[in-house]
C-alpha cells in the first residue's frame, strides 16, 4: 500500500488519495483522545507539495483553510481529497469570507484555483481576495517568558527558551504570529496584489455565462442530472484531468494541489428549486452532484470547499443527505439581525460556529478539537474562532440570562463531531 | 372476544398490525393454527419472509397442510421463476386461479400487507381485498382474509383509511411478557365492538387471555356530566349547614316576633322634629279656602 508521494505509482487502477505518507518512527505511545500537539517525526518520503503537511494523527495530507483557528478546530487542517461544506449564515457574509480565505491561501501557496459561482463573476471574486500579512512584525505573546526569546524564526514554537514546556501545547491560535508555512493571516481591508494573482493559475465557472444550448441538452440526456450541475461537474473533471491531478501525466511537473471553491450551491441562481419551494422537484440533483464530486476528489490531489444556503432549504431530508455526502460540515450562525446581537453573552463575537461533522478517514477516530461551543469574531487582520466564554458577571441579571442561553446554545452545539445526539438536558457541570 | 374470533374464525378481512419492537407474526400463526384445526383450507402468500422462516417453530404436520405461495424469492420477476408469486399477481383473478375450487372454507393469509402497500396504490389494494372477501366465489363460498401489517411503516392517515375497509383490526401493543392487543371488530349489522386484551401466546400457539376489558364493562365508568361545569349544582355539607342557618330578611321568624313584643312594652314612640329655618311653617290649613 503505497502512500501519496509516490508519483510514479499513481496508476489509474489504484486510488491513493487521502492515504497517509509512509510512516517513519512512531513516537506516539499514548492512546488517541489525549490532546497534545506532539509532532510525530515522520521520516521517509514526504510529499514536497507547498502548503501541505501530514497530519499528526494518521499522516494524512492536510492543507490550510486559510483561517488558522479553523484549521485547529478541524484537527490540523483540511485533508486533501475531501470536501468541506459550509452552511451559510443568513446573509452569506461570513461564508463568502471563509471561501475567500480558502482561495487566498491557495494563491499564497501557489496552488491552482478553481472558482465556480452563479452570482458573482469569478474574476471579481479573484480580484477581491484579501491580501496576506507577509510583512508583519510578530507581536510578543502575553506570557512574559516568551519575551525572553531572541527574535522569531519561521516557527516560534521551536524557540521558546524558558517556557519550553509550553512549546508543544495545543492552543487556539487567535493571536497574530509570524507567518508559518502552513496557514497565513490576511488583511481584509486590502485586496491581493495583481502581481501575486498573476502567479496563480486559476479556472472559473460562471453559471450565467454558460447558458444552455442545443448541444448541451443532448449531452445531458445521457446522464440526466440537472444540466447546470452536470456541466459544473464536467468542467471540474476536465480541469482535474488536464492538470494531471488524478495521476495522469505523472512525470509532468512538480505536484500541486487544486483548490476548488463553489459559492452558494443549491441556491436559486443555480437553477435549483430546493431553496425556493417546500416540495421541490429537484430532490436528487444536488446529492448526485456531491456523490460524483466525492468520487472525483478521492482520486485526485484536490480539495473542495462549497457553501450552501442551508437556512433556505425547507426539506430537512435533503440537508441531512447533503451533510452525509460531505466530509467536513461547518455551520455559521451570524448575529446580524437576530436577537442575539444585543445579548450581552455574545457581545464580543460576531457569530457562532457549529462543527456538524468531521470525517474519520483512514481511521476509526477523528481528530477535531473537543470544544463544542465555538464563536467567531472578525477583525481586520484576523478571523478568530474561539471557545465561547461567559462575559464577566458584573450585574445581577446577566447571570440568569446567560444560564438560559447557555442551555439553549448547548442544545444547538451538542450535535458536534457526529458523535452526539441533540442534548435534551442541560447538565450543570 | 379475541379468543372467540380466533376459534370461530373472523369473517371478512382481519388485519394484525405490529411494529418493530412487537412482532405480530406469532399471533398470525396462532390464527392460522385455529383455522387449520377447523378444517379450512389455507393459502399463505408471503413476501417478507421465506417459507422456512415463516414456519419456524410451527408444528410440521400443520405446516404441510398449508399451500404456500412464494412471493419472497422473486417478486419482480428478475429471476424469471414461473412458480413465484409476483407483485403483478396480486389481483382477484390471479389469486382465485391459484385457490381453485376446494369446496371448503378458504382463508388467505398475507405476509405482509405493508409490502403490497409500498408498491401498489392503496385504492387498488383495498379493491382487491374487498373483491376477494365481499362476494362469495364459486366453489369456496366467502373467503376470509388474514393480513399482517407493519403499522410503523405507514402514516396514521393510511391506517385510518384501511381500518374503514376491514372488518377486524388487531393492534399489537404493550410491553413486557404479555402482549396487549386492541381489538376492533365490526359486525355484519354495522355495530363496532372494541376491547383491549392482555394475552400470552403459548408454545402450542394457543392464546392465553389474561385479562380483557371490552366496551360492555366500560359502561360502569360513566363519566359524570356535572364534573367540569362552571357553576355548582350541588352543595357540600358545610354549605348546606350555612344555608340552613342563614336568616332571611323578610321571614317573620319567632325571634323577630318575640323582640317586637318585648319592645312594645316600652313607652310609645316619639317623633323628634327640629324645625329648619328654611321651612315655611304655616299653621293655616290650606284646605280652609275650599268652600266645601
Amino acid at each position: 500500500m503505497e502512500g501519496l508521494p509516490q508519483c510514479t505509482a499513481l496508476r489509474a487502477g489504484c486510488s491513493k488519495m487521502a492515504a497517509p505518507s509512509n510512516q517513519g518512527v512512531n513516537c506516539r505511545e499514548m492512546s488517541a483522545g489525549t490532546e497534545t500537539s506532539f509532532r510525530r517525526k515522520v521520516r521517509g518520503k514526504l510529499p514536497a507539495i507547498r502548503g501541505t503537511r501530514p497530519s499528526v494523527h494518521n499522516g494524512q495530507l492536510l492543507l490550510s483553510t486559510g483561517v488558522p483557528s479553523l484549521d485547529h478546530v478541524l484537527g490540523g487542517g483540511l485533508a486533501v481529497g475531501t470536501l468541506l461544506l459550509i452552511e451559510e449564515d443568513t446573509y452569506s457574509t461570513y461564508s463568502n469570507l471563509l471561501l475567500k480565505y480558502f482561495l487566498a491561501e491557495g494563491v499564497v501557496n501557489g496552488h491552482e484555483i478553481y472558482i465556480a459561482s452563479a452570482s458573482e463573476d469569478p474574476a471579481n471574486i479573484l480580484k477581491d481576495l484579501p491580501a496576506p500579512l507577509t510583512d508583519e512584525m510578530p507581536k510578543p505573546d502575553d506570557r512574559k517568558s516568551e519575551k525572553q526569546t531572541s527574535g522569531f524564526t519561521e516557527d516560534p514554537q521551536e524557540t521558546m527558551k524558558i517556557a519550553w514546556r509550553y512549546q508543544n501545547m495545543a492552543k487556539v491560535e487567535s493571536l497574530p504570529m509570524s507567518s508559518t508555512r502552513f496557514g497565513h493571516y490576511y488583511d481584509i481591508s486590502k485586496t491581493i496584489s495583481p502581481e501575486m494573482l498573476q502567479t496563480a493559475k486559476s479556472h472559473s465557472f460562471y453559471w450565467p455565462g454558460t447558458f444552455l444550448n442545443q448541444e448541451d441538452s443532448l449531452l445531458c440526456s445521457s446522464c440526466e442530472m440537472t444540466c447546470d450541475y452536470y456541466r459544473l461537474l464536467e468542467s471540474i473533471q476536465r480541469v482535474i484531468h488536464e492538470g494531471g491531478y488524478d495521476g495522469s501525466n505523472p512525470q509532468k511537473r512538480q505536484k500541486n494541489i487544486l483548490r476548488i471553491g463553489i459559492q452558494s450551491l443549491g441556491s436559486v441562481l443555480w437553477g435549483d428549486d430546493i431553496c425556493s419551494s417546500e416540495h421541490p422537484q429537484n430532490l436528487h440533483s444536488l446529492t448526485r452532484f456531491l456523490y460524483a464530486l466525492r468520487g472525483l476528489l478521492r482520486t485526485s490531489l484536490s480539495t473542495c470547499v462549497i457553501t450552501v444556503p442551508a437556512h433556505l432549504i425547507q426539506n430537512k431530508a435533503i440537508m441531512l443527505r447533503v451533510r452525509n455526502l460531505s466530509d467536513t460540515v461547518v455551520g455559521l450562525e451570524s448575529f446580524i439581525g437576530s436577537e442575539k446581537e444585543t445579548n450581552p453573552l455574545y457581545k464580543d463575537y460576531h457569530g457562532l460556529l457549529h462543527v456538524h461533522q468531521v470525517p474519520r478517514l483512514n481511521s476509526l477516530t477523528c481528530d477535531a478539537s473537543d470544544t463544542k461551543d465555538l464563536a467567531f469574531k472578525l477583525k481586520r487582520k484576523l478571523f478568530a474562532i474561539e471557545r465561547l466564554h461567559l462575559p464577566p458577571d458584573l450585574s445581577d441579571t446577566v447571570s440568569r440570562l446567560s444560564k438560559q442561553d447557555l442551555a439553549g446554545s448547548a442544545k444547538l452545539l451538542s450535535s458536534g463531531c457526529g458523535t452526539a445526539a441533540a442534548g435534551e438536558k442541560h447538565l450543570d457541570f | 372476544m379475541l379468543q372467540e374470533l380466533r376459534t370461530t374464525g373472523s369473517p371478512g378481512i382481519t388485519i394484525i398490525s405490529d411494529s418493530v419492537l412487537l412482532p405480530g407474526r406469532d399471533l398470525l400463526l396462532s390464527f392460522i393454527l385455529a383455522s387449520l384445526q377447523r378444517g379450512e383450507q389455507l393459502h399463505v402468500i408471503a413476501f417478507d419472509v421465506s417459507r422456512e422462516d415463516f414456519f419456524a417453530g410451527f408444528p410440521g404436520e400443520f405446516a404441510s397442510r398449508v399451500t404456500f405461495h412464494d412471493g419472497f424469492s422473486d417478486p419482480l420477476g428478475w429471476e424469471s421463476d414461473p412458480s413465484a408469486f409476483t407483485r403483478d399477481d396480486f389481483t382477484v383473478t390471479s389469486i382465485m386461479k391459484r385457490v381453485g375450487r376446494p369446496e371448503l372454507p378458504v382463508t388467505i393469509v398475507l405476509d405482509s400487507l405493508s409490502w403490497i402497500l409500498a408498491r401498489i396504490p392503496l385504492t387498488s389494494v383495498c379493491h382487491t381485498l374487498l373483491g376477494l372477501t365481499a362476494a362469495p366465489h364459486e366453489g369456496c363460498g366467502k373467503l376470509r382474509m388474514l393480513a399482517l401489517l407493519h403499522g410503523d411503516l405507514h402514516s396514521p392517515a393510511l391506517l385510518g383509511s384501511l381500518s374503514t375497509v376491514v372488518d377486524t383490526f388487531l393492534d399489537v401493543r404493550g410491553s413486557g411478557e404479555h402482549l396487549h392487543v386492541c381489538v376492533r371488530h365490526r359486525r355484519k349489522t354495522g355495530k363496532v365492538i372494541s376491547s383491549g386484551e392482555e394475552l400470552r401466546i403459548l408454545d402450542t400457539f394457543a392464546l392465553d387471555i389474561m385479562m380483557h376489558r371490552d366496551s360492555a364493562t366500560r359502561k360502569e365508568n360513566e363519566v359524570d356530566p356535572t364534573k367540569d361545569l362552571t357553576f355548582n349544582l350541588r352543595l357540600s355539607d358545610t354549605e348546606r349547614e350555612r344555608k340552613e342557618s342563614a336568616a332571611l330578611p323578610y321571614v317573620f321568624s319567632s325571634n323577630k316576633k318575640s323582640s317586637l313584643l318585648s319592645s312594645s312594652s316600652s313607652s310609645s314612640a316619639k317623633i323628634y322634629y327640629d324645625p329648619d329655618p328654611a321651612d315655611d311653617v304655616d299653621d293655616e290649613d290650606p284646605d280652609d279656602d275650599l268652600d266645601v
Binding site: A32, Q237, K316, A317, L320, S363 | A56
Partner: protein, 260 residues
C-alpha cells in the same frame, strides 16, 4: 475485529443465513462495519463488499489496524470490492460502451430505475467458483441510505435488499449485513430502516448519548437479537462505547472508565 464486541455478540462460529442491520442515528457507525468485515474475512468467508461511500484504501488502512489485509484478500478472490465512487466516475466520464456493464448504471436515469444491475453484480461476485471450495458468502453494503440520495426510491432499495437476501441467505445460506445511516427527519430513510429492521435477525443501533457530547463516551449501542423462532421474544441489550485508534471498548451504561 474487536474482541469485546465479539464476546458481546456471543462469539463462536459464524452463523449462517443471518441478516444483520447496522443502524447509525446521527453518528458514525462505521466501526461496526469494520468489525464485521474483518471478522468475516478472518473466518474465511467470501465477502462481497459494496463500498459506496469511501474508497478502498480507507477500508484497507483500517482493516490493517485490525489485522486483516484487504489487498491480499482481494487478490486471493475472497473479497470482491465494489468502489461505488469509482464506478460513478467511470459511468459519467468513461466510455459509453463500458457504461453498459457498470453496476451503477441506474444513475443514468434521472429518476432512478431499479437496482437490478447492482443485484446482478452481487450475484456474479458471490457465485461459487467452478471446482473451487465454497465458503459462506457474505454481502456487506455501506451504506444503503446513499442509494436513496442517488435517486432510487425506497421501494426500489427494499426490492434490491430483498432479492439480495433471497439469493444470499436463503439460496446460498450466506449472511447479509447492511449499514444505514439515518435520522428521524428523513422519512424515506426511516421507512427503509424500519423495513429492514423488520426483516433482520440482529440489529445493532449506534447513536450518540441522549445527554449530549462527551469526550470519554462516544455513544451508545443497542444490540437487539430478534426472535429466531415463533414463540420467542426479542432480546435487547444496551452498551456504551468509546472508540480508540485500534479498538473500541464497550461498557455498561454509566460505567465508563473515565467515571469510575
Amino acid at each position: 475485529m474487536f474482541p469485546e464486541l465479539n464476546s458481546l455478540l456471543g462469539g463462536g462460529t459464524v452463523q449462517q443465513g443471518k441478516v444483520t442491520l447496522v443502524a447509525a442515528r446521527r453518528t458514525d457507525g462505521n466501526f461496526l462495519l469494520h468489525h464485521f468485515l474483518s471478522s468475516y474475512l478472518r473466518a474465511g468467508c467470501n465477502v462481497c463488499f459494496l463500498g459506496l461511500v469511501q474508497s478502498f484504501s480507507h477500508y484497507n488502512i483500517i482493516a490493517q489496524k485490525l489485522g486483516v489485509n484487504l489487498v491480499l484478500a482481494r487478490g486471493e478472490g475472497r473479497l470482491v470490492f465494489l468502489e461505488g465512487l469509482r464506478s460513478c466516475t467511470d459511468l459519467l466520464f468513461g466510455k459509453k460502451e463500458d457504461g453498459d456493464t457498470n453496476p451503477l448504471r441506474f444513475l443514468r436515469c434521472r429518476d432512478g430505475s431499479d437496482l437490478r444491475p447492482l443485484y446482478d453484480f452481487v450475484c456474479a461476485s458471490l457465485a461459487p467458483p467452478s471446482g473451487g471450495s465454497w465458503r459462506c458468502p457474505v454481502l456487506i453494503v455501506d451504506d444503503v441510505g446513499v442509494l436513496l440520495s442517488l435517486g432510487a426510491t425506497a421501494a426500489q432499495v427494499l426490492d434490491f435488499m430483498q432479492y439480495c437476501r433471497a439469493h444470499v441467505c436463503c439460496k446460498h445460506k450466506g449472511n447479509v449485513l447492511c449499514l444505514i445511516r439515518g435520522d428521524s427527519e428523513d422519512e424515506e430513510n426511516e421507512l427503509v430502516m424500519k423495513s429492514l429492521w423488520h426483516q433482520s435477525n440482529l440489529v445493532l443501533q449506534a447513536e450518540g448519548l441522549p445527554t449530549g457530547f462527551c469526550k470519554d463516551v462516544h455513544g451508545q449501542l443497542t444490540i437487539t437479537w430478534r426472535a429466531a423462532a415463533a414463540g420467542e421474544r426479542d432480546r435487547a441489550e444496551l452498551y456504551q462505547y468509546k472508540i480508540q485508534d485500534k479498538s473500541v471498548s464497550f461498557f455498561a451504561r454509566g460505567l465508563s472508565a473515565a467515571v469510575l
